[in-house]
């Protein structure tokens, strides 16, 4: 399932996938795979992404 909330949060901060990838220490393709729902990140990476985007885990990764 696509993670549109992550994409929206990133776009809101005017960050490209590469910018976010550099900030959390992963490849651009990994961020792309998370947004497309092709890859389930570990909790460690989820936390790093949340910190980079100033969001909580619930806001980015919790499914209603």
């Amino acid at each position: 399932m696509k993670n549109l909330r992550l994409k929206a949060a990133r776009a809101a901060l005017d960050m490209s996938q590469q910018d976010l990838a550099d900030k959390v220490g992963v490849s651009r393709q990994t961020i792309n795979a998370i947004e497309k729902g092709d890859y389930n990140p570990t909790i460690k990476l989820c936390l790093a992404i949340c910190r980079a985007l100033g969001k909580t885990l619930d806001e980015l990764f919790w499914e209603e």
Partner: protein
């Protein structure tokens, strides 16, 4: 260094040490082989038999078991009896072997209890009936090999150097920080497992075919190198398809250029001998495999690179 990393480093070092030392010792301890003895003699065929001046050859073997490889080249009509005496040329023979049709005759003669004894090898040529009276030349080649192993330091020196290099590579590889993220590491693990299966299948196929086909045309060396090259290429391609071949700070363009150059050079180099540069006369199997694998990798990397560029552009726009 974490405990698990340290444990895998130590385990790798132990395995590499055992494998390299075992191979080195196996190569260093070889049977002592005497130099070739090569001589020729003229025999004269008469109406009553053969006249010759072949003297017994004296041997002092080192080990307990000795194998003599005897080759005799001469006219087809001469059979030669090879007799081995112990102690003196006049004593009773312990081994007798007849080499018939001397044209291109050879024999392996085994002496099982030779330690500390003087051996005398006597050659007695006989006319099998088809030769006209005349003089004929016989060429003899002898090689004696004993079962006693002698230590050769050369292979052990090479093994020691390889061991130092292997340990250095293991330690530096395990000590450095990973340049791949978690998704890439998982993809590389799967690719490594698949590549290992490919290598095993190559070796297994070779084993089955070489057992069922007599004089199998591919050597063990070619299969070993070929399997590793095919496995490595499969690993690289599988990793790159999953965006896990290049680390976080690696340059793709440099590697693509290198793969093209390596592939083209290997294909051309496969057909050239060191002295016969420019002549595409002999394509070696290993060179061909290396060339094809590098070219496949270069093509895949180039295609993937253009897809990657397009994706990055689409994402930005």
């Amino acid at each position: 260094m974490k405990k698990k990393t340290l444990a895998s480093t130590v385990l790798s070092i132990i395995i590499v040490t055992v494998v390299i030392l075992a191979a080195g010792i196996r190569c260093a301890l070889r049977p002592e082989s005497k130099d070739f003895i090569q001589f020729s003699s003229t025999v004269t065929v008469t109406d009553t038999g053969i006249e010759h001046e072949l003297e017994p050859i004296h041997f002092e073997p080192i080990g307990k078991k000795v194998t003599f490889d005897v080759e005799i080249d001469g006219p087809d009509g001469i059979d030669t009896e090879v007799i081995i005496h112990v102690g003196s040329p006049d004593s009773a023979s312990i081994v007798k072997e007849k080499i018939t049709g001397t044209g291109d005759g050879s024999a392996k003669i085994h002496v099982t209890d030779a330690e500390g004894k003087d051996l005398y090898m006597q050659f007695i040529p006989e006319n099998s009936g088809s030769l006209a009276p005349s003089s004929y030349s016989l060429q003899f080649k002898l090689k004696g090999t004993s079962d006693e192993l002698k230590f050769h330091s050369g292979p052990m020196m090479i093994a020691a150097l390889l061991l130092v290099f292997g340990i250095y590579v293991i330690v530096t590889t395990n000590r450095s920080e990973s340049k791949y993220d978690e998704r890439q590491l998982a993809a590389r693990g799967k690719a490594a497992m698949n590549a290992l299966i490919i290598v095993m299948m190559c070796c297994f196929t070779y084993g089955c075919l070489s057992m069922s086909v007599e004089n199998f045309p591919i050597s063990m060396y070619e299969v070993g190198i070929g399997s590793v090259i095919v496995g490595s290429t499969a690993f690289a391609i599988m990793c790159d398809v999953n965006d896990a071949f290049f680390g976080l700070s690696e340059r793709r363009a440099k590697f693509i250029a290198l793969s093209w150059v390596m592939g083209i050079l290997a294909l051309f180099g496969a057909g050239m001998t060191f002295l016969g540069l420019g002549r595409f006369n002999e394509i070696t199997g290993t060179g061909l495999v290396v060339g094809i694998c590098f070219l496949l990798l270069a093509i895949e990397l180039t295609v993937k690179s253009s897809i990657e560029k397009k994706e990055a552009t689409d994402e930005e726009s």
